[in-house]
């Protein structure tokens, strides 16, 4: 680098006084292999009236030559990765200062200073595609509605079996408790359960069916028997 200095100085004399901004994209946790970036990865330096554009080089560095004095926004356009913008200030003496900046915030509101050459690290890997919501068993099972359904199904199937294995005294107590609670629901369900098909087919009217009170009483009494 030092050896080239006289040549660069010569060259700089020929053109207007201007700085060289150097940087690189190092390997990082988000982007372990920057060489995977496509050849059209573009880095731009923008300020009013000036737009410098360069491609990422084969060794994952970038160089802007002949950058005149000013305050620039540095942006990176790379497929699959998002970078945050940087503020690059090029001074009169060709010194380059790099600071963190945020879009939409005041330009004078800068963050931490960064070193030169600029190291660019992507903030995140980005995806171009929307995932289509297909059939997902795990997701379906984690839905609360399905969970409620499963719990009630389990209680219907396994609770009677559980009851059978229970201590007879406790069972009797439990049944008595249930009886109290389920009078109303039983009445409704037993209306259907007590549908007398034979009498219906025999052409008997509804009057012949047992009275609701009776039905509820008798069926409740049979509750335990039914579940054998």
């Amino acid at each position: 680098m030092k050896l080239l200095a006289p040549l660069t100085a010569l060259y700089l004399l020929a053109s207007a006084s201007a700085a060289t901004v150097r940087g690189l994209i190092p390997a990082s946790t988000v982007l372990p292999n920057p060489s995977e970036l496509p050849a059209d990865t573009t880095i731009t330096l923008t300020t009013a009236g000036e737009l410098h554009k360069t491609f990422l080089r084969w060794d994952n560095t970038f160089v802007f030559r002949n950058v005149s004095e000013g305050s620039y926004v540095l942006d990176v356009a790379a497929e699959g990765y998002a970078f945050s913008p940087l503020r690059v200030d090029v001074g009169k003496g060709e010194e380059v200062a790099v600071k963190q900046t945020w879009r939409g915030r005041a330009w004078s509101n800068t963050g931490e200073s960064k070193g030169v050459p600029i190291e660019l690290r992507p903030i995140q890997a980005t995806s171009y595609y929307q995932v289509r919501e297909g059939f997902n068993l795990l997701k379906m099972l984690s839905s609360p509605m399905i969970l409620i359904a499963i719990v009630s199904l389990v209680s219907i199937v396994f609770l009677p079996k559980l009851l059978d294995k229970m201590d007879p005294e406790f069972r009797a107590e439990f049944e008595a408790h249930q009886k109290k609670n389920s009078v109303t629901t039983d009445r409704m369900t037993n209306n259907i359960a007590n549908f007398d098909a034979a009498s219906f087919l025999a052409g008997m009217g509804k009057s012949s069916t047992p009275a609701p009170a009776q039905a509820s009483g008798s069926s409740a009494g049979q509750g335990g028997n039914k579940r054998k």
Partner: protein, 954 residues
């Protein structure tokens, strides 16, 4: 609370920016990558690295795109958009391709296109050569030669001895003599040998050569002149080989060439009827190719050790103006490959007069070669050859189409001419379900109700017997097809598909070619025609319209009107008129037809096609006179044009863009319903145009909304600290305007970057109020269309925008997406209109009413989410314009982008609400229904048994 509302808003926000589904990508969209017409001296076969056996075609095009093409299939291996410039040179190095565009020089890895280095200078590059050590020698317009390092591109040495005379010196030393200085030196070309560089330049109407030592960068000998007669050099530089310098003398009838380092030129007389002379060389073999309007032939020369050229033989003339010759060395021999206009290839050995082989092209028509490069490999048997030729075409209207001819067979072709598409129009295709019965339906409308009913029933019965059996037969296949989610095959010919996704877009190239592109079938070119004859220059297009069903009318600026059948490309009508055209507009006549009104440069107006008697209401046209003035012109029904208004921006401002509302811009609702069920009436003015201006001295940009009929200014806004060198782009639709610009730090505490501004126009600032329009039933620009109430909001956007487009649906009910064309290969970004809504509350959470309206808190930054890039991972390059059109589905808008590559897709801004998506599990649905049916049949007897048991056990 803050968190909660954020969570609440997130789903609806996300839902509105839903991106592309992975299974839709590459299926619903298509992309034709183009690079443009290849440049003759910067196109070559070259091995990407020394060890590789296969070579790629490298080409720099006049669009400043450097690309590597796979000669096997014509696919692009890589390409890079360089800085656009008129000066483009590319050369092959070892493992790299070095190119110069304008003032910058860059070196790219030949294998993957990664940049190796680049450097920029103050002067344009004239010529560029690679030295044997793989360094790069560059000749600049000011006569300076620089040697650039192969690893870094830094300047190794500089040579400035060409222009030793300062401008104010009258007599100066030049070579071995003193000359009176009356002209500056014009550097022409650079030639490289093992250890020296030779610079050719023109001064005092003579040709000079200077030799430089490659190692030191010092002159090895004094500058010598090598011609005696007055010359016009630089016309014919050698295509290949560095030791040859050629030029034509001032008469234009003598071609001279000199094999450096010799300084005695050989001269060849150019016959009188020759219109183009091309000189090619490979080592010491030189070929001079002559072309007349009717035929072409070539002379082959050999240069001996002393540098004296002698003719070996002449190739007999063949018919056809356009043919191309290329030279290729293989196995110690140099071959001459001659490609004729009909694609026939003739192979010669430069040492022998008789042709080695001739291949007739079977599978192509006229290809009109302009220039070519070829690769010849002799097969082991010694008598047969593998010849492949990359040909760039000069077909009128389609300059630059490229073909690869492999032993007389067209291996592939690329429609590179479509890179220069400048105008387009959509063509509706015919509906197969109604088109065939148009006459019958017509008949029904002219009958009495009873007769029409009988007619319809008989027609239906006829159709049942005609199509019914076939329909039933095809039914199982259709159902099966529906299950395996096989995409429906797009129809061909002039028929549209059921959803109206298939449309034609008729495009016009800058060279005058017309092509019909089928957006439903991946951008296939259906037909093409040329508006110009061979050798004619196209002066541009003023208007292209669908004039009636299946017909496209084109108004050429030069003064002609051409009508084509849009389905098959047959020219229906051609009318010429004078003088040239300034502006055109399509209007509806009172008879329901469509005609084109063209305003000519003599301020007269004509109706096209000429000779049709059409009555129309007066038309208002807007014409940009200069960067300082826009005129409104009224064309009366009897075709008298009169200026109505002139817009002159304030002093210092120059007009950059004019945008009007799209021709098809349906508005579903004339008001905007707020959360409290009150309405804000939209200011809808079909004649609203938006004009953007810049003031370079004050660094400001202004936007003017103008009524194009009355010329009154509806609204204006000025932005400070704007980058006036970057274009301001704007778009108008419905009652809103969106534009973008780059703003510097305008004042302390402001942001720097690209801004997007949205303006929404309402009739009044109050709810349920129509402002100055009161309860007017009709609004007319003549009576004063009132002043709109303008709401605006500005956002910071991470990228520049090259162009905007707005999605367009059939009824305009679907919400709109704004399509922003991003620079480089970043593609097209879609922003939902609801994001760019000036009613978004600033600095506070939206209240209940605002939430109901769908508003969410204002955030100053719109970040680019790659999911909303409708071009997704496709690398679109050079796009300039995006156009949209509705499909038959209200949810879906068809998008086509051109100006570089061609890209087409479909977008559904409010999601595809009227069609089943690919994610709809038909199999699952049927399986569930079948499963439930089976289950209920199985369970039914069990239940019944249980019930009976319950009864009996009582």
């Amino acid at each position: 609370m803050r968190f909660f509302s954020g969570v609440l808003l997130l789903p609806c926000f996300v839902a509105s920016v839903l991106g592309i589904f992975k299974d839709d990508a590459y299926h619903t969209d298509w992309h034709i990558p183009l690079i443009g017409p290849s440049l003759p001296t910067s196109t070559f076969f070259h091995q990407p690295n020394q060890d590789s056996k296969a070579s790629l075609i490298y080409s720099l095009t006049d669009r400043s795109i450097l690309a590597a093409i796979n000669p096997k299939d014509g696919e692009l291996v890589w390409r890079q958009q360089l800085k656009e410039s008129a000066v483009n040179v590319a050369r092959a190095g070892n493992g790299v391709v070095v190119s110069a565009t304008g003032t910058s020089v860059s070196s790219f890895n030949a294998g993957n296109g990664r940049l190796v280095w680049e450097n920029a200078f103050s002067q344009n590059v004239v010529d560029l050569r690679i030295t044997p050590a793989n360094k790069v020698a560059v000749l600049f317009a000011d006569g300076v030669v620089r040697l650039l390092d192969d690893k870094s591109g830094d300047v190794a040495w500089e040579w400035r001895e060409l222009d030793r005379c300062a401008d104010d010196v009258l007599v100066c030393a030049y070579g071995d003599a003193n000359f009176l200085r009356n002209s500056t030196d014009v550097p022409l070309s650079l030639h490289v040998t093992k250890s020296t560089l030779t610079v050719a330049s023109q001064s005092l109407k003579k040709l000079w050569v200077s030799t430089i030592d490659l190692a030191t960068g010092k002159s090895t000998s004094s500058t010598t002149h090598i011609s005696t007669a007055a010359d016009i050099p630089a016309k014919h530089q050698a295509h290949h080989g560095d030791e040859l310098l050629s030029w034509t003398e001032e008469s234009g009838r003598t071609l001279k060439f000199v094999a450096l380092p010799s300084t005695t030129p050989a001269s060849v007389a150019i016959p009188n009827d020759v219109v183009e002379t091309v000189l090619l060389s490979s080592k010491d073999d030189v070929v001079v190719h002559f072309k007349t309007h009717g035929e072409s032939w070539a002379h082959v020369y050999k240069v001996d050790a002393k540098g004296v050229a002698s003719e070996v033989y002449a190739v007999r003339p063949r018919l056809g103006a356009h043919s191309a010759i290329s030279l290729n060395s293989a196995g110690g021999k140099t071959y001459l490959v001659w490609t004729l206009p009909n694609g026939e290839t003739v192979l010669y050995d430069v040492a022998k007069e008789e042709a080695l082989a001739s291949y007739t092209l079977i599978n192509a028509t006229e290809i009109d070669p302009r220039h070519s490069v070829s690769e010849v490999v002799p097969r082991p048997d010694g008598t047969s050859f593998a010849v492949r030729t990359f040909v760039s075409s000069a077909a009128p209207g389609f300059v630059g189409d490229s073909y690869l001819i492999r032993n007389g067979e067209l291996a592939w072709s690329r429609k590179e001419s479509l890179v220069s598409v400048v105008a387009s129009t959509w063509i509706e295709l015919l509906d197969p379900s109604t088109e065939e019965i148009v006459e019958e339906l017509d008949a029904e409308t002219h009958k009495s109700v009873g007769a029409a009913y009988v007619h319809r029933v008989t027609r239906h019965l006829n159709e049942l017997s005609l199509y019914g059996p076939a329909w039933i037969q095809a039914l199982p296949q259709r159902i099966l097809g529906g299950f395996v989610n096989k995409g429906t095959e797009m129809p061909t010919g002039k028929w549209r598909d059921f959803f109206g996704f298939r449309k034609f877009v008729i495009v016009i190239t800058a060279e005058g070619g017309v092509a019909a592109i089928d957006v439903g079938r991946n951008g296939e070119v259906v037909w093409q025609a040329s508006l110009v004859n061979a050798g004619e220059k196209f002066r541009g297009v003023s208007g292209i319209y669908e004039v009636r069903k299946g017909h496209v009318g084109i108004v050429c600026t030069g003064g002609s009107y051409v009508e084509y059948n849009a389905f098959d490309g047959i020219e229906v009508l051609k009318q010429d008129f004078t003088p040239s055209v300034l502006s055109t507009a399509q209007v509806d006549t009172q008879g329901g037809k469509k005609i084109i009104i063209a305003l000519l440069s003599n301020n007269k107006a004509i109706a096209l096609p000429m000779g049709v008697d059409a009555e129309f209401d007066s038309v208002h046209l807007t014409v940009k006179d200069s960067t300082r003035s826009i005129k409104g012109i009224r064309v009366s029904p009897n075709l008298i044009s009169s200026p109505t208004w002139t817009f002159v921006p304030p002093v210092g401002e120059s007009i950059t863009t004019i945008e009007g509302r799209p021709a098809h811009d349906p508005v579903a609702s004339i008001g905007r319903v707020l959360g409290d069920r009150s309405v804000m009436y939209k200011y809808l003015n079909q004649h609203m145009i938006v004009i953007s201006t810049v003031n370079p001295t004050a660094a400001t940009a202004s936007i003017y909304l103008i009524d194009s009929v009355s010329g009154s200014i509806l609204h204006s806004a000025t932005h400070a600290a704007v980058d006036v060198t970057q274009p301001i782009v704007a778009t108008v639709s419905e009652n809103w305007v969106i534009y973008s610009y780059f703003s510097d730090e305008a004042a302390e505490g402001t942001a720097k970057g690209y801004h997007l501004v949205v303006l929404e126009l309402y009739e009044s600032e109050f709810k349920n109020d129509r402002g100055s329009l009161a309860d007017a039933d009709e609004v007319s620009s003549f009576k004063g269309a009132g002043k709109p109430h303008v709401l605006s909001q500005s956002y910071v956007f991470p990228s520049a925008v090259k162009a905007f487009a707005v999605t367009d649906t059939k009824q305009g009910i679907t919400s709109r997406d704004i399509l922003a064309l991003l620079p480089g290969t970043q593609g097209i970004y879609s922003i939902p209109k609801r994001v760019l809504d000036p009613r978004r509350p600033v600095g506070r959470e939206p209240d209940a009413a605002e939430k109901e309206e769908g508003l969410f808190i204002y955030t100053p930054v719109i970040e680019i989410d790659p999911k909303s890039i409708i071009t997704h991972k496709r690398k679109v390059m050079g796009l300039k314009k995006v156009v949209t059109t509705p499909s038959q589905l209200e949810s879906t808008s068809i998008v086509f982008a051109y100006g570089g590559d061609l890209f087409g897709t479909r977008v559904a801004p409010s999601l595809a609400f009227d069609v089943l998506g690919k994610g709809f599990g038909k199999i699952q649905l049927v399986a569930t229904v079948v499963g439930l049916t089976i289950a209920s049949f199985m369970v039914a007897p069990m239940v019944r048994k249980k019930q009976i048991n319950a009864r009996w056990s009582l």
